[in-house]
């Protein structure tokens, strides 16, 4: 009823003011959509790198290991489970990991180390680390090959080909030691990785533990993170009756998930504040427009237009403004986000390196945006609703005008 065309004509009366208001909505929404896309992209990257480096989309561990990280909490028949899972999940990559704490010594010094035993081929496929080697090569079947971080290499003053000795006391046995040869040096940009992590083939670490075929973690890596929960259920089914814990990434990386939630809420809060400021601007515009038309609204009330219809007319103007502003915002959001989704944004200058750390995840400094249809749609919808709602107060003011007073208004 009382078509939108009347609303549009009323908006055209003060075209400049209406356009400025719509532009404020459009610019605000553009920035919001850009932020949403940018954040979503960074979360994707964080999740991806964290999943590949720290866990997996689904992990199988001994009960309690997730909290305590006690090396005695082993999955004893990890080799067999890995084979079974890989057979059952041919599209996934299933790998085992051993985590040991010990001391690494060179002729020049020694340093505490977290030694990870990994499946050279599988780990190489899921990690970014092979691309982050600054010297040497990735692991192969050579059980004496060792990868260390750049800072550790500096501390130990070793280069590719140099010998180092690992010493550790495991599972209450006597101190065991093992000679390795540095096969490669990586630089992730994250200090705690580059200074304290070393990687060796799984078999070597199983030997150090003295438990053949065992590992601390069997992790499953998927192409599509959205299948994580489903796959976790599948794995639970396959391992039914075994005393093992099966977690999907959110459960295995609670800090990361919490960080993302917090960051997203922080983003929402910031954007809500921007939205509030814009909304106040819209309220102001609509109030001025109502005030300027007091006499005319008085005429409408006098000739028998019901109050609620007068109010509704103003709301329709707010709605038209909302549609125009939101359409502009969607367009602006696409234009702003497109390059970041396609090419990414290099934060190298800002973070001082080729990689950076966020929420405990290390990733490349080239941040790529990615579309977040759900959250974007919520923002677009909110833009229409809130901009329209901004006309409620002016509409109520218009509806409650006293016709005689309004007619006398000059």
């Amino acid at each position: 009823m009382l078509h939108l065309s009347l609303a549009l004509r009323n908006l055209r009366r003060n075209l400049r003011r209406s356009l400025l208001t719509a532009a404020a909505v459009a610019v605000g929404l553009s920035l919001m959509l850009f932020t949403v896309t940018f954040q979503h992209g960074s979360y994707d990257m964080m999740i991806r790198s964290a999943i590949s480096a720290m866990a997996g989309h689904v992990v199988v561990q001994a009960p309690g290991w997730q909290q305590e990280r006690d090396e005695a909490l082993l999955v004893r028949d990890a080799d067999a489970i890995q084979r079974d899972l890989q057979r059952a999940l041919p599209d996934a990559i299933v790998i085992e990991r051993v985590f040991l704490e010990g001391l690494l010594t060179s002729t020049q010094g020694s340093v505490g180390v977290s030694l990870e035993g990994v499946d050279p081929e599988g780990e190489g496929a899921v990690q970014d680390l092979p691309e982050q080697l600054i010297a040497g090569e990735w692991l192969d079947e050579d059980p004496r090959g060792l990868l260390i971080g750049a800072e550790m290499a500096e501390t130990l003053q070793v280069e590719v080909g140099d010998k180092v000795v690992y010493m550790g006391q495991h599972l209450g046995h006597e101190v065991s030691s093992q000679m390795f040869r540095v096969r490669g040096v990586f630089k992730t940009g994250a200090a705690e990785l580059d200074a304290f992590i070393a990687m060796a083939p799984l078999s070597a670490t199983q030997e150090l533990l003295g438990v053949p075929g065992a590992a601390h973690q069997i992790s499953v890596h998927l192409d599509d993170a959205r299948l994580s929960i489903h796959t976790a259920d599948q794995v639970r089914g396959l391992l039914a009756g075994r005393d093992l814990e099966v977690l999907y990434w959110r459960e295995a990386l609670p800090e990361l998930y919490a960080f993302i939630q917090l960051d997203r809420s922080g983003g929402d809060l910031m954007l809500a504040v921007i939205g509030l400021i814009i909304t106040l601007g819209v309220v102001n515009t609509m109030l001025m427009s109502v005030l300027e038309r007091t006499r005319e609204l008085g005429v409408l009330l006098s000739i028998g237009m019901r109050r609620e219809r007068v109010g509704w007319m103003i709301v329709q103007e707010g709605f038209a403004l909302a549609l125009i502003g939101t359409a502009g915002g969607v367009l602006g959001g696409l234009v702003l986000s497109w390059p970041v989704v396609t090419w990414g944004l290099d934060l190298g200058g800002a973070v001082g390196g080729e990689s950076m750390e966020m929420g405990g995840a290390v990733m490349s400094s080239v941040l790529k945006g990615s579309w977040d249809p759900t959250r974007s749609a919520i923002y677009v919808l909110a833009s229409v609703l809130i901009t329209t709602a901004a006309s409620f107060y002016p509409a109520i003011r218009a509806a409650l005008l006293h016709p005689i007073d309004a007619l006398r208004h000059s």
Binding site: G304, M305, P403, I404
Partner: protein, 229 residues
């Protein structure tokens, strides 16, 4: 039966300690087809009376009945509907919605009344022709002279087929010649179509067209004379 019946109508305003008796016991009936001028000096209560008749204001005491229905018991919404369907209004000036054309201003009331589009078009065009604005339907108020704008206002007031049209000094902002033309138009609509008008004016020349002149002084009726047309 009277279209309008006003009995013992009073309206007082309080301003500080002062009490202003804008209307003080007015009795007054209007029958269908009348063409009545409300005369009286400034401050005599003409606007107050018209506002009470139109249900824009509530009386301090007394009764207003339109077509036998007392306004007192009506809810604001019902009063709105009564104005929409049964009463037409013409004000002094700046009556029209500036963003709507003459045609759209006239059609607006019909749209509010819920008249179907085809009938709306036919009636709005016919009414504009009846007030002498054929060919100017597409013009916005800003593209019309003051006299033409008042004609559109008259067209809007009568398009909805009301029982009664109230006009508060419709000629006040027009020069005397144009004012006289507007009153002539109203008189013709009254004679040809039987539209009942009650209008207020200061202008003695304007009153000459009236067939009945009701005089107000200090909120009281001070004369009510019928005249030959």
């Amino acid at each position: 039966m009277s279209i309008l019946s006003v009995r013992a109508l009073s309206r007082t305003y309080h301003q500080g300690t002062q009490t202003i008796r804008a209307l003080d016991g007015v009795d007054f009936n209007v029958d269908a087809g009348e063409f009545t001028a409300l005369m009286g000096p400034s401050g005599s209560g003409k606007t107050t009376l018209l506002n009470l008749i139109g249900g824009l204001d509530r009386p301090t005491s007394g009764v207003v009945e339109v077509e036998g229905r007392p306004l007192r018991g009506l809810s604001p919404g019902a009063l709105s509907d009564l104005r929409l369907h049964r009463i037409g209004f013409v004000f002094q000036s700046y009556n029209l919605i500036p963003v709507l054309s003459a045609y759209e201003n006239t059609e607006f009331v019909l749209a509010l009344q819920g008249v179907p589009a085809a009938e709306r078009r036919e009636r709005a065009m016919r009414t504009l022709a009846a007030v002498g604005l054929a060919g100017m339907e597409g013009r916005r108020p800003s593209e019309l002279s003051g006299g033409q704008q008042q004609r559109v206002a008259v067209a809007r007031a009568i398009a909805g087929d009301p029982a009664l049209v109230l006009a508060d000094e419709p000629t006040a902002n027009l020069d005397s010649h144009t004012g006289a033309e507007l009153i002539e138009l109203m008189a013709r609509l009254n004679a040809d179509q039987g539209v009942t008008f009650v209008f207020s004016t200061h202008d003695p020349k304007v009153q000459e067209a009236a067939r009945r002149v009701v005089r107000l002084v200090d909120g009281r009726i001070d004369g009510d004379e019928q005249r030959a047309p």
